[in-house]
Amino acid sequence: MNEFLVLTITAMVPFLFVAQGTMLSGRAGIFSVSQEGLMLLGAAVGYLVSLQFGSNAVGLVVAGLAGAVFGAALAWATTYLRMDQFVVGLALFFLAGGTASLLYRVVIGEDEPPRIPPLPDVALGLDALVYVAVALSLFLWWWLYRTDAGMRLRSVGENPKAADSLGINVTRTRMIAGTVGAALMAIGGAYLPMVFSGVYADGIVAGRGWIAIALAFFGGWRPQFILLGSAFFAAMDVLAQKAQVSGLAIPHQFVAMLPYLATLLVMVFAFRWALVPQFLGRNYDRESRIVG
């Protein structure tokens, strides 16, 4: 397959996992801002576990579990304790990132880090996770809009009081969505050392977590548009990297700025037509006496 396409598609995968995870969590009303930290954690855990057990698959699973733990913590703090979502999200971002650094430091220390073998190609020069990511996006698209369970999830993020009054378990829905969403974010991070660099480094995520949040907005919190948006950003990312190595008249620093500036530009237009779940970022209190 054309090299540019392969590069773009593989670059798309981390964005896709993290943005869909953000969407899933957000559709239940939990607005996570821990993505960057969760990706770091996923990358470190995925790399170290893969190194230890000689299997990327095991690394991915454990990375997902690590992310799930933090996701459950955010969901629990916001749903049961009704703490501010941004504040807890930031605190967990720090803790996840700090844990990632610490784990790496403790296991590898100052030594030269050994490289893990990359994920093998499955078809068309692409690895298995590419197909998983795309299939996941399509599955979520179907599940959200065509199943009763998907409708229930959406109602929790739009009007949890309405959902609660109809017997839907709002707390359980939020807990599950927040946990699974975070697991996806960590898996997105684990992909980075397994396909791109072969090792973990503190700067490996480089803002992708934040861009994924923008993608969720840009895609109107809908999995099908998030898929398209992720492809677009991956393309920008690859172009920027290519420009850096080839001899372009423009200083490479300005090219490197492009993905971030493009994201900002996209956000400006996104607000016009993006549909945001009405209860995004808020916490529900069944016994609240505040009228209306």
């Binding site: 009763d148 409708m151 009228v291």
Partner: protein
């Protein structure tokens, strides 16, 4: 209208000894409530009596501290709405619990399994049977209030409710729509179900209920058959014979009497016109052909005049209120005492004495996390400051005075206002409003959710302000309140002001027609 009770059969619903506290507040103090089958049972009481709380316990939204519930003689454990629905209880809340972006059909089936069920057909069938016409494919956000209420009722019927609880369902309906609703209620009862009607309107209770239970201050007061009581009797029991309201206005506003009974208050002899509003319009942000939110409103009000604006919620009341107080950009002129305030920033309007008391107290009226002192300072903080600094000790002194003058029940002036009860929050808001020395006072739904004492207090303050020469505008979705308070009544429909009826000449049905846009 009499129900045949087989004395051997257990009542359809029996709640016994229900107790519920919220922190230090006792909302329900050992309440008993019994409903027979095929009965429209009124649950009557002033705001704060505990009626909604009791039904929220029944519906599993609140966890009671003590008490039991029986359906058809069998005890049921209701820990969540899911249990309540399974036990055959359906509830229509005061604020509709609908997902705005979903369609009618989606809202009705939400939470149920749609496998193998033709939902649209079932909804259509229920619609027919009970006179609740809806379009299943319409998006709920686009529908008017009356239709959204039908969706709420259909939700309960779709789940096979045996007991349907309606919480203050007539608040946002025109008199004609109220008649339709009562018709549907009788159809429901004829099919073997029971309806609990939560209301504070005595007139309605007498019109449609077979029996009524009265609550006051979180306690059960009495249960009576409709045939065995009168409106006055109910009023006395609701308010408590010793503190029965002598205030005609309050009695009429509570729906106790017929409008004609209110004694005619002769408005002040022709005083001069203080406020002239011309061509006030608020454009629709949707642009293009969308109709304006406030459409070319003109007013002319005299010193001490109280203008009442009635209407069904959603016809531009909030936009009109905000435009009339400088809180929303609008075109047109607003001339108060020969000064045109149009186009000036909100702070200027406030400084000139145009004061807005919004309907949503928690969201728009106070800083819930701040104490009374800070809340009183809000809006006048620039005026008080010298050299950019606020004198907080003076502000605290004034707060103590305000607490006394407005009888605010609070532990101290530093207690966060969000913890106060609705009535006390409104008192704080009024204390602030009056500290601005209002020349124009605009209140929107000022007594919604307030207990009788606070309601009386608000009406008293309004009339005192008018007597002092202030121009008062009361926008209220409660038709009884508007008729009772106002010197003149107009109706807002689709952003336009229609009709203009002086006190004593008001006919609720004529106003109802105006409220739905049928000609004057």
């Amino acid at each position: 209208m009499s129900e045949t009770t087989d004395t051997a059969a257990p009542p359809l619903l029996r709640m016994s000894g229900i107790r519920k506290t919220f922190g230090p507040v006792v909302a329900l103090d050992g309440v008993d409530f019994t409903v027979e089958a095929r009965q429209v049972h009124g649950l009557l009481g002033g705001n704060g009596a505990g009626k909604t709380t009791l039904m929220n316990v029944l519906y599993g939204l609140y966890d009671p501290d003590a008490g039991s519930i029986e359906i058809d003689g069998r005890p049921v454990a209701i820990a969540s709405p899911r249990d309540a629905i399974a036990a055959g209880i359906g509830m229509v809340h005061q604020t509709f619990l609908q997902v705005d972006v979903f369609t009618v059909a989606e809202n009705v089936v939400l939470g149920t399994s749609t496998k193998g069920v033709d939902a649209v057909a079932r909804i259509g069938e229920l619609s027919e049977r009970f006179g609740l016409a809806v379009d299943p494919t319409a998006r709920v956000a686009d529908l008017p209030v009356g239709v959204r209420q039908r969706v709420e009722i259909l939700k309960a019927l779709y789940r096979g409710a045996k007991v349907l609880v309606l919480d203050e369902p007539t608040t946002n309906l025109t008199p004609q729509e109220v008649d339709d609703l009562f018709g549907s209620m009788r159809a429901i009862v004829d099919e073997g179900m029971s309806v609990v009607l939560i209301t504070h309107k005595i007139r309605e209770t007498m019109a449609v209920c077979d029996a009524m239970t009265i609550m006051r201050d979180g306690r059960w007061v009495a249960t009576l058959d409709a045939a065995a009581t009168t409106a006055d009797d109910l009023a006395d029991r609701m308010v408590g014979a010793d503190s029965a309201s002598e205030d005609e206005t309050v009695r009429v506003a509570l729906g106790e009497g017929e409008v004609g009974e209110a004694t005619l208050v002769v408005p002040a002899a022709e005083s001069e016109v203080r406020l002239t509003v011309e061509g006030l319009s608020v454009a629709n942000p949707g642009g293009g052909d969308s109709p304006p939110l406030v459409d070319n409103v003109s007013l002319s009000l005299r010193r001490g005049e109280i203008l009442g604006i009635a209407g069904v919620a959603g016809n531009g009341q909030v936009e009109l209120a905000e435009a009339l107080t400088g809180c929303r950009a609008a075109s047109g002129s607003f001339v108060l005492d020969d000064v045109d305030l149009a186009g000036r920033p909100t702070a200027d309007w406030l400084a000139t004495g145009v004061v807005y008391v919004p309907e949503d107290r928690q969201r728009d009226g106070i800083l819930p996390g701040a104490g009374l002192t800070e809340n009183l300072v809000l809006g006048s903080h620039r005026r008080r400051a010298s050299r950019g600094l606020i004198n907080w000790s003076q502000a605290r002194r004034e707060a103590v005075q305000a607490i006394d003058e407005f009888s605010v029940k609070t532990p101290s002036a530093a207690t966060p206002c969000g913890q106060l009860s609705g009535g006390n929050i409104q008192r704080v808001i009024l204390a602030r409003a009056f500290s601005h020395d209002p020349q124009v006072l605009l209140l929107h739904n000022p007594t919604r959710g307030l207990d009788i004492a606070s309601t009386t207090f608000v009406y008293d303050r309004i009339r005192r302000a008018a007597a002092a020469g202030c121009v008062v505008i009361v926008i209220s979705e409660d038709l009884d309140e508007v008729i009772a308070l106002a010197d003149r009544v107009q109706v807002v429909y689709a952003g336009r002001l229609v009709g203009d009826v002086p006190r004593g000449a008001t006919d609720p049905y004529a106003l109802g027609r105006l409220m739905t846009g049928v000609g004057a």
